[in-house]
Symmetry: C2
Subunit: 610 residues, 2 copies
């Protein structure tokens, strides 16, 4: 006799034919509905409770005790104790949790299905009539099935099993048995996501059993001393293996310090971190993993690889569980890296029917245009002006950085943390240039104007326009302003630097939009990602022509979208798998070979009159 | 318009529907018919020649030049130049070679499909309009597809590609890109197979492009000094990690010396060896790979694992290509190891409809009974008597070892290499015991008889039966015999040792035959494997009761069947995969828990009268 068991899941129902007297737990497992049953299906742990309609016999005393009257009344039974003697309807709970990732204005709900999983098992103790070898004994208890294993764990396995009385926790990574730990350690399951920027490195610690973010930390990239941009770093690394080794050591130390920070802030143990996910530009990923970055710097700009990479944390001596895994996001090309793929992921543009534009402004500017069906990308050598580098008084988003500047004639400014000014960061630079344009202090070509061309009163002009080492400059703060001894100026050279940067980005956007043939009006959403994107004054950005004015009302700043994407890859193996699809879908447009880009770049060097 | 292409293969035909104007090379590749085309399908290398009926257009001049008139007349064309415009019949050649493995009296033809393959490719040089990263460029040229890669090769990849002008050889292992070498190295593809015995280690070097055996070498296992049997070795290793490390170092040194021997004998380079395959008993495999063997020695006898293991040659510093692979055959249990699985493989009993018996006599005695549908196995602690160990004048099969002994009263003997006698090896011991039984010098219980009980003349008896350190012994050779200074004797204790060994094996065989329910007459073939099996006098073996007399005419000695099985795994990934199936099919019978075995063991301690 056979019966029909209908399994009602969130995403649809499934009917399964089974023999009379089949066990419900086995049936459900066979149909990919996992239960973690420490008792091994002996009816004592209560972990296989499931709502079922149609069971003929009455709940046992043990079931009543384990499930309680309310759940019994609701139709819950222990699957392991349920023998199928009639047609049944089963309503397994969707046990996958969801985690919310908020990036700037975006919120994405990610189903929590991390690559790393844990399972506590109480194994049978070997006997003369049960001589399964240690590894095979462990693997046979794994659910879902683990099809391979880390050979390193075999060394300690016999001792771990025997000292723990064969009660152990299995850690699995992508179907591979990664670790066997004594006792029940299922509540220790954490992961870290990293955005390795040329200037800044950000780190996020998440609980992989709840999805919760437990701590965030960031540090400046210590490779900075060997150059502000990727080309300088590569030039340094190209000298010899020793110099390349220095850059790798620096970034690994930085990652380890961030891991220490995260552990300290959250109170967890280093060994609780089983997975670290990395996004960053292609050069950063090469330097971190010890790959030769030389050919990224010279035409035709060829990375060693932009495939997703997995590595053994032991190979970099990372401060995390040695049996865990390191994952580097895939990239698209030498200058559209894993950070851009991560940003595409967290923006959600890859699944949008409508066309979006993603502009990620960091030390370089990466631009992606497209939708569910196609995507194209380019990179512009915007330079690190927006991160405060190559600007006379430029600084990153540190305390005391001038982050907003008002209109003439006062040019009122604010500083981060309301501290004495120490310099000016990206958002401040954009503001001050916009204000100077409005006041006619900078003309269309970017030249600091003569007194009679500006709206400024004569005295104000004399006070503000100074000469520093033979270069004209606009003095934003005096030496004694708000308790600082630093005079903060915007030099003519700084303005040129910014013109280059904004022209590169604007020309890149225009080139992609033209290439796509879609037209600017088809672009329904514009995502502005990057460290400085969140604090930027959009009106100023449009004023200086960083973004086309026609996109004005469609722009959304989404902050560190790369970091958010790395977190998504940490929380969900499906999201990780999606990055491969994104890598393969995004077409790369080489701007250095584009006459169109060069023309637009020159045009965009000018400021608009407005 | 669509056409039907019928692909005629050795194992059947396959019809495929294709669009008009499809390329034949692409179609064949898509249907798993590999071609190695260094020209990249440009019609210049001629490597994609295939016999095809139905092509509409005439062969081009280039095709005529590359294929020659005879092949053109036979219907051969270049697949890469063939555009499908009508229904076609294609006859791809079965390019896999076969290799013959001869083991004792057995000959098996193995299709040559090694796990390691090589392919020479001439890659396009990167350009601004072809910016594929180095790894992706290499992987895209691989046929058949390689789906993963060894991260270590990324370090050197940019330099290898650029120094070779992007003309490289790819080494693939089981679908993984293992190495990228400059230039064409496809003719350097070798592998080694090892049988790691408790007493003797044998090594075989094969050319993986032809299957040919290039060299054979063997050495005594240097772990011998820590005990003749596996239990003594484990006891030594159990003292601490240091002692276990000593045993691992010894066997790795021995393997490396054998690799050196093979390289020296064949004139190849160490770096040409990409794969090493290991068979051996479970303890040897544990000690070699550094696994804790302690629980093998104590009930209930649990190995860490008997799964197939793959390891990085770097992890053991093996004298072979660092990008190659080491493979350890799977085993069945603590005492039926990878060597037995290898012997089952090379005997072919796993695919035989009829029931076979395999007896592998080494330091232990493993017995397998079964056929295509079922197999069962056991291990008897026979002790190393047959390898000459624990026998007063026992030696292995070395020069000067007495390897055959004639009947009374002369007891004429031969020695290996016709040298002065240095001791007696397994086949000699069996002969002398058989002769002594026939002459009544040993009685049914194994006791050295008194003078009046024997057939020997009085003088001869007085001369032959001596007392050594208070133990009675039979003197086979005098001190001055054939220029030796050694007196070779068989002591009463040696006889007991042999009785134990032969009783264990005979009882094991009887227990399996009984358990199977098949009956001795159903056993159609008896394979006697093991180092000493080839030189054994079968009549003597039957006389002493090592094998049941009723099997007399069905016995075939197959020599080092374990080594032959390891070679098969080296030459064919299908054979390697078969070992997993064999592992899973063979049921292990624990004799220490069998009352039946104990009874039969006691019975078999007696010699038959005849």
């Amino acid at each position: 006799m056979r019966h029909t068991v209908t399994i009602h899941k969130k995403d649809g129902s499934q009917a399964v034919m089974v023999d009379n007297d089949a066990n419900l737990l086995e049936l459900l497992r066979h149909n990919s509905i996992p239960f973690d049953t420490p008792c091994g299906g002996k009816g004592t742990c209560g972990k296989c409770a499931v709502k079922v309609v149609g069971i003929q016999d009455q709940p046992s005393d043990k079931e009543r005790e384990l499930l309680g009257a309310a759940r019994i009344a609701d139709g819950y039974r222990l699957a392991c104790r349920s023998i199928i003697t009639a047609d049944l309807d089963v309503y397994p709970e969707d046990t996958a949790r969801e985690a919310s990732i908020i990036t700037g204005g975006l919120k994405r709900n990610i189903k929590l299905v991390p690559s790393v999983t844990k399972q506590y098992v109480e194994l049978a103790v070997p006997a003369l009539d049960d001589q399964l070898p240690d590894l095979e004994r462990v693997l046979s208890a794994a659910e879902p099935e683990l099809t391979s294993y880390d050979t390193a764990l075999l060394q300690e396995l016999p001792e771990v099993l025997r000292k723990s009385g064969f009660q152990v926790t299995l850690a699995g990574i992508d179907g591979k048995l990664a670790a066997v730990e004594p006792g029940n350690t299922t509540d220790e399951l954490f992961g870290a996501a990293f955005d390795i920027g040329t200037t800044t490195v950000a780190a996020y610690l998440h609980d992989l059993t709840t999805g919760e973010c437990l701590a965030v930390a960031s540090r400046l990239n210590p490779q900075r001393k060997y150059g502000a941009d990727v080309i300088s770093r590569i030039s340094y690394a190209m000298q010899s293996k020793e110099e390349a080794g220095v850059l790798q050591s620096l970034i690994i130390s930085c990652i380890n310090e961030l891991l220490d920070d995260l552990v300290q802030k959250s109170g967890i143990k280093h060994t609780g971190i089983y997975m670290s996910v990395f996004a960053g530009n292609t050069t950063m990923m090469h330097l971190m993993t010890g790959l030769d970055a030389s050919n990224i710097a010279i035409a035709p700009f060829i990375p060693v690889t932009t495939e997703m990479m997995r590595f053994d944390p032991r190979s970099m001596d990372l401060h995390m569980n040695k049996s865990g895994v390191g994952v580097v996001f895939p990239g698209v090309s030498a200058y559209v890296g894993a950070d851009t793929v991560a940003a595409i992921l967290s923006s959600g543009m890859y699944e949008d029917e409508e066309i979006s534009l993603l502009v990620d402004i960091g030390t370089n500017g990466e631009i992606v245009l497209g939708c569910r069906d196609w995507m194209m990308s380019c990179s512009t050598a915007a330079g690190p002006a927006f991160e405060g580098a190559n600007i006379r008084n430029g600084v990153g988003g540190v305390k005391g950085a001038i982050d907003s500047v008002g209109q003439a004639p006062d040019f009122k400014y604010t500083t981060i943390g309301d501290k004495s000014p120490v310099g000016i960061c990206g958002s401040g630079i954009i503001d001050v240039i916009a204000a100077l344009l409005d006041a006619g202090v900078i003309d269309e070509t970017g030249r600091l104007a003569d007194e009679d061309e500006t709206d400024l009163p004569e005295e104000e002009y004399a006070h503000r326009i100074v000469s520093i080492e033979g270069i004209r400059a606009f003095r934003l703060t005096a030496e004694d302003d708000r308790g600082t001894s630093v005079q903060i100026v915007i030099t003519q050279r700084d303005i040129r630097e910014l013109q280059n940067a904004k022209a590169a980005i604007a020309a890149g956007i225009e080139t992609l939009v033209k290439l796509s043939g879609a037209g600017a009006e088809a672009v329904k959403k514009v995502y502005l990602a990057g460290g400085f994107g969140s604090s930027i004054n959009m009106e100023s950005a449009l004023r200086i022509g960083l973004l086309p004015r026609e996109f004005g009302n469609r722009i959304q700043t989404i902050g560190n979208a790369s970091g958010a994407g790395a977190v998504e890859g940490l929380l969900s193996r499906h999201m990780l798998e999606l990055t491969r699809q994104i890598k393969n879908k995004v077409k790369y447009v080489e701007l250095s070979a584009s006459v169109d880009f060069t023309e637009r770049y020159v045009e965009n060097m000018l400021f608009s009159k407005e």
